[in-house]
C-alpha cells in the first residue's frame, strides 16, 4: 500500500488490514481505499478521524438500501411465502424458527414447512422449534420430492388462511447443479400456486465464511433471484464484511442478522451498527 498525498502509507496499511481482516476482500478494500485517496486529494488535509469517517460513509452508501426502509414486515398476500436457502450448516433451520417468532410477536399466524428431505433428523430438528413456538409444521417423508412438500405446505397455508409460510430447504453447495435445479423447481412450484410467490427468497450466509460467500450469493441469486441475505452467526468474532462486496456487485441487501442460537437472536439489519462493529 503506497502513501498518497496527506494519507501516509502506514495509516493506509492499517485501514487495509482492518478491512481485509473483516472479510471485506481484496477488490472491495482496494475500491474503498481508492475512494479514500480521491476524497483526500479533493480535501487537501485530512485528520485520522476524518479518514475513518470517510471509509464508514463509503461503506454505508454501498450497504444502504431503500428496500430495507419499507415496512419491516411486508405482507403482500395470504400467505406471505418466504423461501430460505443456503449452503450446508449456515443456520437456515435455526433462523427460520427465529423469523417465525418475529411474526408471532406481531400477531401473525405462521406455518413452517420442512423441505429438507435429505439431512438426518431434519424434520425432528424443525419440529422441536415448531413445538416451542406453538406453530404448525408440514413435515416430509425422507427422500420425498421437496417441491411436492412445498406445494402441499402452500395448499395447507392457503386453506387455513395462514399469514406467513416459511419454507426450510436442505443445505447444499452452490456448485452442485442438480441440487440447485431442485431449488429452482421448488420456486417454480410455489410461483405456479400463488401469484408472485415466493414473496421473499432469503439466502442464509454464515458470517464466519470468507470470500466464498460471493460465489454462494452469485449462484443462489442466478438460480432463485434473492430478495435478501440473512447473515447468521454474527455473534462471534467474524465481522461479515463480505456482505459489502455482495451488495456492491450483486445489489443484494442484508435483511436480517443472526446473533445467537436462541429464538430472540434475530434482528433486522442496521447499517450504522454493522459498520461501527466492522471498525471496532
Amino acid at each position: 500500500v503506497r502513501g498518497h498525498g496527506c494519507l501516509d502509507a502506514e495509516l493506509l496499511e492499517q485501514m487495509e488490514e482492518i478491512l481485509i481482516r473483516g472479510d471485506v476482500g481484496v477488490e472491495t478494500t482496494a475500491k474503498l481505499l481508492e475512494g479514500l485517496k480521491e476524497k483526500s486529494r479533493a480535501a487537501g488535509q485530512l485528520k485520522p478521524g476524518q479518514i475513518l469517517a470517510i471509509l464508514r460513509q463509503q461503506i454505508e452508501e454501498i450497504l444502504g438500501d431503500e428496500r430495507s426502509k419499507e415496512s419491516s414486515l411486508p405482507l403482500s398476500s395470504t400467505p406471505h411465502v418466504i423461501l430460505v436457502a443456503g449452503v450446508n450448516g449456515t443456520g437456515k433451520t435455526t433462523s427460520i424458527a427465529k423469523l417465525a417468532k418475529i411474526y408471532l410477536d406481531r400477531g401473525r399466524t405462521v406455518l413452517l414447512a420442512s423441505c429438507d428431505t435429505f439431512r438426518a433428523a431434519a424434520n425432528e430438528q424443525l419440529e422441536i422449534w415448531a413445538r416451542r413456538l406453538g406453530v404448525g409444521m408440514v413435515k416430509n417423508q425422507p427422500g420425498a420430492d421437496p417441491a411436492a412438500v412445498a406445494f402441499d405446505a402452500l395448499r395447507a397455508a392457503q386453506a387455513r388462511g395462514i399469514d406467513v409460510l416459511i419454507i426450510d430447504t436442505a443445505g447444499r453447495l452452490h456448485t452442485k447443479s442438480t441440487l440447485m435445479e431442485e431449488l429452482k423447481k421448488i420456486k417454480r412450484v410455489i410461483g405456479k400456486q400463488i401469484q408472485n410467490g415466493p414473496h421473499e427468497t432469503l439466502l442464509v450466509l454464515d458470517a464466519t465464511v470468507g470470500q466464498n460467500a460471493i460465489s454462494q450469493a452469485r449462484l443462489f441469486h442466478e438460480a432463485l433471484g434473492l430478495s435478501g441475505i440473512l447473515l447468521a452467526k454474527l455473534d462471534g468474532t467474524a465481522k461479515g464484511g463480505i456482505v459489502i462486496a455482495i451488495k456492491d456487485r450483486l445489489n443484494i441487501p442484508v435483511s436480517y442478522i443472526g446473533i445467537g442460537e436462541n429464538l430472540d437472536d434475530l434482528e433486522r439489519f442496521d447499517v450504522g451498527k454493522f459498520v461501527g462493529a466492522l471498525f471496532s
Binding site: I20, R21, V87, N88, G210, Q211, G236, T237, E261
Partner: protein, 291 residues
Amino acid sequence: ELTRRLNSALRDLRGRGKLSEKIVDEALRDVRRAMLEADVNYQVAKDFIRRVREKAIGQEVLKSVRPAQVVVKIVHDELVQLLGGEASTLDLSSSGSTVIMLVGLQGSGKTTVAGKLALHLRSRGKKTLLVAADVYRPAAGDQLSLLGEQIQVPVYVASGKKPVEICAKAKERARREGIDAVLLDTAGRWHIDKEMMQELVDIRRKVAPDEILLVADAMTGQEAVNLAKEFDALLDLSGVVLTKMDGDARGGAALSLRAVTGKPIKYVGMGEKLDALEPFYPDRMASRILG
C-alpha cells in the same frame, strides 16, 4: 492461473541469471493478493511472503525458464512444506479404547465427520462407538442415532445427562465392551464462549482423549486464525479435519489453521455422504489455494 498472471506481470522483467529484488517483490504482490483472495489470514500471508522473499531473492533462473515460474515454484514448494508434514492418520495405538473428540464452531460438520470416521474405522474392522455429547442442539441425538443406524455403528445417547458425564460413561462402557474406538461428537460453540470452552476442557480432563480434532469449514474466512489459536491453546489439538472441500472455496483457512497451531490436517470432507472422507494432500491444497 497464478502462473499466467505472474507471467504477464513479469513479462518485461527478464531475469538475467538471478532473481532480483525488483522481480521478486513484483511477483510476490500478486502472490499475496491470490492468498488473501483465497482467505489466507492477513498476518499469516504477510509472514509467508516474507519467508518466501528471502528464499527467492538471488535464486538462479535457467535460460529456458521464465522468472515467474521460478517464483511460483518456490511459493508452491514452501506452501506444500508448510501444509504437509506428518501423515494424516488417526493415532489408534493406545491399548484399549482410542477416544477421539470432535470440536469446532457451529455447523462446521462435526456430527457428519463423526459418522464418516465411524464408517472409516468400522470398515477397518474396529469396534466403534459414537457418542452424542451435544445436549443443546434440537434433535442432535436423533441426528447421530440415524447416522449410526445407516452404518451399523452403535450410538450412546443419554438424555438428561451433562456432556462431561456422557463422555465419561461412554468411555467406561467402551472399556467394558472391548470397543476399539470411541467418537465424541460435541456441540458447536464459539472459541470466545468461556463456559462452553470450559466444558471441553472438563471433558478432556475427565476422559483424556487420544485425539482431539478441530472440525473446520474449508470456507472459513479471516477468523480461522483466532478460532484455531483458542481451541489449540485450551485443548492442545491433535489435528484438524477440513470439511466441505467439495465446494469451490479456495481453502486458505487450511494454511491459517496449520500456521497458527502447527497441527496436521488429517482428513478432508468431500461431500455429505458418510463415505466422503479423504486423506489430506498438501500439494493439492497448495495448488487450490494459489488458484
